[in-house]
């Protein structure tokens, strides 16, 4: 009996089994929703664009309103300056005198200063009842009213 070498018991590669040794339970892969993401993206993008356009339109509308207001301010300032000049022209003493003479008025005679020899109704009025002196009383002359 000859010795027959025993067949090599070299292990046969069993990759599957080896992998199986590392197998683990995994969850079922989720289904991909590419279409949903695309739609969502489009909606967001659309909303962003719409919002931006809307805001810009509102801003443009406000710009128009602001422009109109600025024009009104310019016009009002122009009118005010012209009215100031017109008031000053109408207050010109020479013009008033000429107009009065044209209306048939005559210059007043000498002013009389009298000795008041009896009590008058206004004698009891105290200065603080007449005016405090702190407020601007003449809207046409705000510059000097306080001091006056």
């Amino acid at each position: 009996m000859s010795a027959v070498p025993a067949p090599s018991r070299r292990p046969v590669a069993r990759p599957v089994e080896r992998r199986r040794a590392h197998l683990r339970v995994v969850a079922e892969p989720r289904p991909r929703h590419t279409l949903r993401y695309a739609l969502l993206y489009l909606v967001l993008a659309g909303a962003t664009v719409f919002g931006a356009v809307s805001l810009n339109a509102l801003a443009a509308g406000d710009a128009v309103a602001a422009h109109q207001l600025e024009q009104r301010v310019v016009t009002a300032e122009r009118d005010y300056a012209m009215l100031v000049a017109e008031v000053a022209r109408l207050e010109d003493p020479a013009r008033i005198r000429a107009a009065a003479l044209e209306l048939g008025m005559v210059p007043a005679g000498s002013v009389r200063f009298l000795v008041v020899d009896r009590t008058l109704p206004a004698d009891g009025v105290t200065p603080d009842l007449v005016a405090t002196g702190n407020e601007a009383t003449d809207p046409l002359k705000p510059v000097l009213s306080v001091e006056k």
Binding site: N56, H67, A85, E91, F113, L114, V115, D138
Partner: protein
């Protein structure tokens, strides 16, 4: 095929690099220039107010009409298409010329010029500009320009001055205070759409304009107007070539009025006479004549040379060197006091006192009173007058100068000297600027005028009493200066005018009157000068003007009267009588006294220092 793609992509890529890298900076600049607009924001020029806050000068928007002559020529569009003219220049000129007040041919020539921009008319009324724009004429546009306006026209024209069409001060206070009146223009840089609207999200950079400072003058508009009216009436009534009036407030040195007639309207400078632009009360000098005697008297009293009660022996003429000086009328030798010398305006008596005073002391006092130097108002063209150095005086200079000849002063200098006497001997520098109003709208008062004592209070009082006799005394030369209810002091003056083109004097005269009221506590000084009047006498010509202005000013400034008041019952009775009299006069026929050209009361009885011999 591949090669074609590569070629096309290469071209596109090269263009991209060209635009984004090579020309990127220039293109970015061009983009900014296209949408960026710079708007100049004019700085409002400051207003000028009178002392009560009434507007004397302001600025309003005006319409400047311009044309683009290219609209009236055939041209080409950028793509080479022929473009006919939008209108004919002749037609546009026909429509515009009468509206803007230009000659049709002249305007048509302007519209046909080879230019992109021509002015059609500048600084028109805003309403007129709007009416022109409503016509929608091709090539015609409107610019807004600030325009200086003087609402009261000629009122205080020589004081206020005027500006050029570009708003820069050229004359008067407009020139003197141009540095604070003019505003600093601002700038607005913004991104705008072609239609002119700003881009809301665009860049916006604002540099706000700084408005000019407002001026508040010491001038009182009402008194100024009354002074101008009185001066104008004097010119008409006495056929004079000019008249000036100065009103000063005693103590503060405030110039309440400074009128010179004939005047001009600063709104129409081009249509005015240039000689009338001068504020003659500070730019022109004249020989004061007898009004000077008050200063000679003040110096003599202050130095103890004489007193009002000093008895004097006064002949009607006096010989000094080779010259004979005479009184206004012949009279025998008189034994009178120095106060009477002043009352009668005696040249001889004044010269006697001046000789006792001496030329050095007279010169010193005159200079202390403000003669020979500017008063410091800073007004453009202010004259310092003429007072020769005492070393250069001739032997006849002392008597000549003592009676107000051989010396030249401005009317403001004369008023200032009398204000010193009225102010207990303390000189206060005249001022015309009361304060300024800045952006906060608050009045910043000007510094008080500097003061200096010239003569003692006692001397001042004695001179005041002497001057009161000139107006109220029996022999006074200034009776027509009396103001009912007030004690008035003053002095008449009648002086020969130096010849303009030869040595010596011309045959013309200057009549003057300077005074103040109330005598005991003076509030106002009024100085009047009438140039070349007929008759010539200060008491006849200038004193009534003084009286009219002073009476108005005293009442307007609410200065209480000094003489005893009437009781209420007496006043009511008197008023009823006057009313009945006035009614009767209105109903009755006109009399000679109603004529405005009638001479003032006392005209025939007036008299003053007569012309003196030439020095």
């Amino acid at each position: 095929m591949l090669l074609l793609f590569v070629l096309l992509f290469g071209i596109v890529g090269w263009r991209l690099v060209d635009l984004q890298v090579v020309d990127a900076e220039e293109l970015a600049d061009r983009g900014v220039r296209q949408r960026s607009r710079t708007i100049e924001l004019p700085g409002r020029r400051g207003r000028v107010y009178d002392r009560e806050g009434d507007v004397l000068v302001t600025s309003v928007d005006s319409a400047t009409i311009y044309a683009d002559p290219r609209a009236y020529r055939s041209g080409e569009t950028p793509d080479g298409t022929a473009k006919p003219p939008a209108a004919h220049a002749a037609e546009v000129a026909d429509v515009l010329a009468p509206l803007v007040g230009r000659d049709v041919a002249d305007l048509r020539a302007a519209l046909e010029r080879d230019a992109h921009f021509v002015y059609v008319a500048r600084q028109l009324d805003w309403e007129l500009g709007q009416r022109i724009m409503d016509l929608e004429l091709p090539g015609i546009g409107l610019l807004t320009e600030p325009k200086r306006v003087y609402p009261a026209g000629p009122l205080a024209g020589q004081i206020l001055g005027f500006t050029g069409i570009d708003g820069a001060g050229l004359h008067g206070l407009e020139l003197q205070h141009d540095d604070i009146l003019h505003g600093t223009p601002g700038q607005l840089v913004m991104e705008g759409a072609p239609g002119g609207l700003s881009i809301a999200s665009g860049a916006r950079e604002l540099r706000p304009p700084v408005p000019g400072t407002d001026l508040v003058l010491t001038i009182d508009r009402e008194i100024q107007s009354a002074a101008e009216a009185a001066a104008l009436r004097a010119i008409e009534e006495f056929d004079a070539v000019g008249a000036s009036v100065v009103v000063l407030e005693v103590g503060t040195g405030d110039v309440l009025a400074m009128a010179s007639e004939p005047g001009y309207d600063p709104n129409d400078v081009s249509g005015s006479v240039q000689a009338n632009w001068r504020n003659r009360a500070v730019t022109d000098v004249f020989e004061p004549g007898s009004v000077q005697k008050a200063l000679t008297a003040a110096a003599a009293i202050e130095e103890g040379v004489v007193s009002p009660t000093t008895p004097m022996v006064v002949d009607d003429r006096i010989q000094v060197g080779s010259k004979t000086f005479k009184d206004s009328h012949d009279h025998p030798v008189e034994h009178i006091t120095f106060a009477e010398v002043m009352e009668t305006s005696s040249n001889v008596g004044t010269i006697q006192v001046a000789q006792a005073l001496g030329k050095e002391r007279l010169d010193r006092y005159l200079r202390d009173f403000g003669y020979g130097s500017r008063l410091g108002t800073g007004f453009p063209g202010e004259s310092h007058g003429l007072l020769m150095p005492v070393e250069s005086w001739w032997n006849t200079s002392l008597p000549t100068i003592a009676i107000g000849q051989g010396v030249a002063v401005t009317l403001l200098q004369t008023a200032h000297a009398y204000a010193t006497i009225a102010n207990d001997g303390v000189a206060t520098q005249p001022r015309i600027l009361r304060g300024t109003v800045g952006e906060d709208g608050r009045l910043t008062p000007a510094d008080p005028s500097p003061t200096e004592r010239i003569i003692s209070s006692g001397t001042s009082r004695q001179v005041r009493e002497m001057l009161a006799r000139v107006v109220s005394g029996e022999r006074g030369t200034g009776k027509t200066a009396q103001v009912p209810g007030y004690a008035v002091a003053g002095k008449t003056g009648t002086a020969r005018k130096p010849s303009a083109d030869a040595r010596g004097y011309s045959g013309e005269y200057v009549a003057s009157f300077v005074g103040f009221a109330p005598v005991e506590d003076p509030k106002l000084v009024v100085a009047v000068m009438v140039d070349e009047p007929y008759p010539i006498w200060g008491g006849v010509v200038a004193a009534p003007v003084f009286q009219e202005v002073l009476e108005f000013a005293l009442k307007h400034r609410k200065v209480p009267p000094t003489e005893p008041n009437a009781s209420l019952a007496d006043a009511l009775t008197e008023a009823a009588l006057q009313e009945a009299l006035a009614d009767a006069q209105l109903e009755g026929p006109a009399t000679a006294a109603d004529e405005p050209a009638s001479p003032p009361v006392g005209a025939a009885a007036g008299g003053d220092g007569a012309p003196v011999a030439e020095p």
